[in-house]
Every structure is written in C-alpha cells, then in structure tokens.
Subunit: 376 residues, 2 copies
Amino acid sequence: MKKIKNLIVGCGLSGLVLAERIASQLKENVLIIDRRSHIGGNVFDYKDIKTGITIHKYGPHVFHTDMKHVWDYLSNFTQWHFFHLETQVVIEGIKTALPFNLNTLRDVFCPSLAERLEQKLIETYGFGTKIPILKLKENGDNDLRFLAEYIYNNVFAGYTGKQWGLRPEEIDPEVTARVPVYISRDNGYFQDKYQGIPLKGYTGMCKKMLDNPLIELKLNTDFADIKNEIFPERLIFSGAIDEFFEYKYGELPYRSLRFDIRTENIEYYQKTAVTNYPNNYDFTRICEHKHFLNEKSNKTVISVEYPQPFEIGKNERCYPINNPQTQKLYQQYQKEARKLKNVYFIGRLGDYKYYNMDICINRALEFFKTIKGENK
Amino acid sequence: MKKIKNLIVGCGLSGLVLAERIASQLKENVLIIDRRSHIGGNVFDYKDIKTGITIHKYGPHVFHTDMKHVWDYLSNFTQWHFFHLETQVVIEGIKTALPFNLNTLRDVFCPSLAERLEQKLIETYGFGTKIPILKLKENGDNDLRFLAEYIYNNVFAGYTGKQWGLRPEEIDPEVTARVPVYISRDNGYFQDKYQGIPLKGYTGMCKKMLDNPLIELKLNTDFADIKNEIFPERLIFSGAIDEFFEYKYGELPYRSLRFDIRTENIEYYQKTAVTNYPNNYDFTRICEHKHFLNEKSNKTVISVEYPQPFEIGKNERCYPINNPQTQKLYQQYQKEARKLKNVYFIGRLGDYKYYNMDICINRALEFFKTIKGENK
C-alpha cells in the first residue's frame, strides 16, 4: 500500500497534458500509467524500420485548430511541419477532392453541367460559403437538388453505412446530410488557422511533455492491477468510464477499426495522404503515411482502414456511438462519477465523447484550471 | 484399381473451390487432377523471368464482384491489390475510354458536338445512367441516333465480327447493341463494389487454396488415362462435358484465342492494361501486363489477342458459342449427366456457360452446400 500525490490513468493527450501541467505548474509528483506498451494513446506514431517512414499506428492524425492558445501550448513541445490535409474520394472510378467543392464538380460532371451547377451555387449562396446538402435538397432548383441527391448517394450513404455498420435504411439522412458542399476551389479538408504535424512525430512531442523529473511513467500497467496497492490523493482517469465502474450499468458501445498496414514496392500509392472509398470495398479509407511529413523512400507504407464493432479485449475503442440511449447510459456513469471525491474523468473514453485533438487538449487545459483553483 | 473419396477433374477456379471446401469443411480426402502442367486453369499467371512482370497467360483477369461473400471467401487466400480496370479503344486513330462515356465524346467528337450530345443525354436520361445503344437508336433526336450509329459502326460491329469470326451481315444488331453508353465521367470498365487482383498473383492465391494435407494434386494427368484405375465415391468434373461423353452427340463449339506474348524494350506500351482494336488488324486487343500489379521494369510485356476457332487438341476452349442450336446440344449432354450417380459437372466447360470469375466461385460455393447437405 503506497500513498502518492497524483495518479493519471491513460497516457493519451488528455493524460499527457495534465501530467505536464501538474508537474510543471504545481510542482507535484505524478505517476502516469497506460496499459499499452507505448505513450501517446491513439496519436502514437513510430518509424517503420524498413522504409524509415513515420506510421500513424491508429490512423491519420493531422493537427488543426483555431485556438491559438492550444497551438501555442503544443508548440512548447514540438516544432511543426506545416501541413494542409487534402483528401480524395473515389466515386465511380474517379478520384477527386473531398469535401465536394467546385473542383470536384469539374472532375465528376461534364463541363456543361459543372458550369451550370457552379453558377447556380455561387448566385444562390455566394462564393466561399459552405452549404450542407440537406439545405441544397430543399432548394426549388432541379439541378441543385440533383447535386444534393448525387452527393448523398455517392458519398455519404455508403461511407456512413460502412463507418457505423448500418444498412442504408438505418441511416438517418438528417444526420448524414449535414456535410457541406464548399463553394470554393479550396481542396483543403480543414479550414482552421493552425494546421500541422509535429516535426519529429507525435510520439516525439509526447515524450517532451513527459520530460520532467516529477513525472513517473509506467507502461504495460493496468489500473485494475494496481488500484488496491496505490492510493493517490488525486486520480485522473482517462480510461473508459464504464470499465472503471466494472460495467455495472452495462457497456458503453464504441465503433472500432482494423488497420491493414502494408508496404508497397512503389514510390507513391496515391496523390494525397487519405483517399476515401464510400462505395467500393469494405474499408472506408486508405492512408499513405509518407505524405504527412513528406518523407522520401522508394517504397511506401499504406494502411487500409476497416471499421469494426468494438469488443472488449479484442480491439480498441475508437468512436463513441452517440445516440439518446447511449447518452442516457453514460449519464448514469457520470452520476456515479460525481459521487467520488478527488476522482476525475477526462478524455474521449472518460467523457464518452468524440474529441478532435485540439478540443481534447483544450478540455484538459480547462480542467487543469479547476485543479489549480482548488489548490489555492 | 484404387478407391478414393473425391476426384476433382480440372484445377481451375471451380475445382479449386470445391477441393478447398471439401478438404477444409468436410475433412475428406481429395485428389484433384489437371491435364495442364499448372494449376489455376485460365486464371494462371507466372513471373516472366527477364522482366519480373506477372503475366496473365490466358489473357487479362481482373476480379470484380458485388457479392461480399465471394470477395470474403477469396480473401482467406490472398491479400488484394486494389485495381480498377480502365480500358481504351482505338477509333479512327484516337485512343479513348471504353465503354463510351462523356469523356469519350470529348475525345472523339469536336467540342460543340460533344457538348450538344452531352446535354441531350443528361436531359433525356439523367446523369449517371447507362443507356443501351439499341435504345438510343429508337430516340427521335437526330444527334442521339447519330451517336448510336457511330458507336455501332465504329466499336461493336468490328469487335463482334473479330471476336466471333462473323461477317458483318451475320451479326445480329439486337444482340450487339445491348452495350451501353455510360452517361458519366467514370472510365472504369466495371462498377462492382469489390475489384482487385490477388497481391501475389492468381497462382499464389490458388496455391493457398490447395494448401491442405487432405488435398493431393496431380498435374499433367488426363482424366481419360486414369478413369479405369481410380474409382472415386464422388466425381466432380469441370472439364468439357462433351468430351466426358466422348462427343456422342457431337462437339460443343467454342471460340478460342491465340496470344502473341512479346517483350518490348520500352517502359510503357500503353496507358491502360487493355486497349481494344475494333476496326484495325485481326487482333481484338492488346494487354500490357505490368499495369495489373503496378510492377516496375524498364521493359514491358504485352500480349496481342487473336480470336480463333477452337479445335480439339490444337488450342484451348475459351468462350462457349451460345445459340439455340448449341444449347439444345448441351441439354442432351446435361440429360445424360443427370443419369449418373455421384458425378457432377461444374465450371465453364462442365456447364458450357461463360462465367465471370465471381459467378464461377459462387456457383462452386452453392454447389458445395448441396454436397454438404447430402453428407448430413
């Protein structure tokens, strides 16, 4: 039985930010553990030995944010490779930009139809705007309605079905049709002010965050195995909240992914880092890793992403499945969590919420402020 | 005289599927024989020694299917190179996409005509649809009728004539004119959900299917030479049904092919794997093999395909010649076949039917279900 100041469970972004803040700002000792054999959670990357290419083990991660303070915070631990993600999509054998923009119209449709659509979109909504296809559908114009239907059928229905394992009739068009057409020639996937990839990889950045003598790291360590031996004054838990409570109300469901990582004996496999396949095959996308840091090799490494149901002990939790039923279940656990003193739940698994990286970091920084307030 | 459990004649896809299923699922011994010196039937491929390029010995094979269970079944034995076949056609010296689509119109006609046709096609039939030229011909519009005539004369009349060895007046326009114009910019030859080529070649995949100690393979072995020595409890025959019955009702006719396989001292011979020549020369198409697996070499290997009449002992059976007369003849053999106990005919030659690879595999898997049912 051992008393310690801070125990952080989970060494993903949330845990890392809090370990770093508590050690550097409060000068307190932190023990951070993770059941995996590596730091970084799902942003973990590593150099492939044969090709020297940096691999995003759990799928493509491109950092993007409009929050200057989040960008500045991470910039303490890394330099940036300035990178704007462009993704392509395969529709009827044509590779074109996603989200749908004016370039896409020119690639997919014949010039006369593309021009007519372009003119109508610009006249109706203005150049530079983003219009959800749900809104396009409600337009009285036949061409614009055709465009909305086309995008719905050729991009979103198939992708959503594969991503969430739903049959076409189970897909709620009100939800999927939120995706916009971008009335612009910007092929960029994000439009955030700050976009980039840590110059030495995410793992390099995460290592820097842990580089403080007050922080002790234990990998391959499951919380369940040490919780009866170690008694922290403050427990920050970024693991799955349902698992923490031993699933007493039932399992919170997630969607998982299987990555088929392959080395191909060609210089480039595709034009951009990510290509989406809404209609063909059972995978949703193929990621070519050398694009992220513009690494050179006469070979290339790709990962083919197959969505899967999450099963405890079999694969990893990726996407919380958000619906009224699961939210209700989560709230039961949340209520339970609030009864505990000095135990805090954060992160994608602790909050049961899909977080972009910047939101996740902002959430951890905000949470740190409350800890700091209590300490005063 | 030797008794055995299962004898499969023919080591093409049908035979392979059944050998694999019977051995792995029923745990029964299987002897599979082929008169050729290799496995795989007409999907056999091999590495050309000089260039390292994988050659499709019996012409281009691109696997494509909408049947997930067929794709998943083969995926047990191979990884996939994701490949979408595009083919070109030479018309009046211009190389363009086949089937005819909106891109083809722009390549073949002058811009003003192409645009007029494009607009009329989209207005009349809608973007994304496929219209048989027979239907186009019936349209009241002069431009659309011109297009139908143009495609008929410049693509189908010549190609069909060479393929089947028919004079123009022998060609039935009702049959050939079924080929569509695709009102789309998709240059893909197929639109199936799953399309690809086994990553290590078809022969690699076929080898894996045979990789079971219960399966014994004998190549260079003619059924006629062993049928009086080996007595199987179950005989699955994927050879020619007329040959099995010693042609007692006459020969079932086939069309055959001659491949002129040539190494060219240039990096690429053509833009796509297959180029069709409906009007020029006596060959129907040229296949450039390095495209299939995106193999690199400073040389290239092409095969030039000459349709030929099939002659027993001289060349290989390729395409069953389907007409009422040959169907009647086939049915006589089929009737004969039904009288036999524990003898089953399958595959392109056993069923006297042109099968795409996926249909062939599905047929074999369905047939296996009936065997499995009997065993219970």
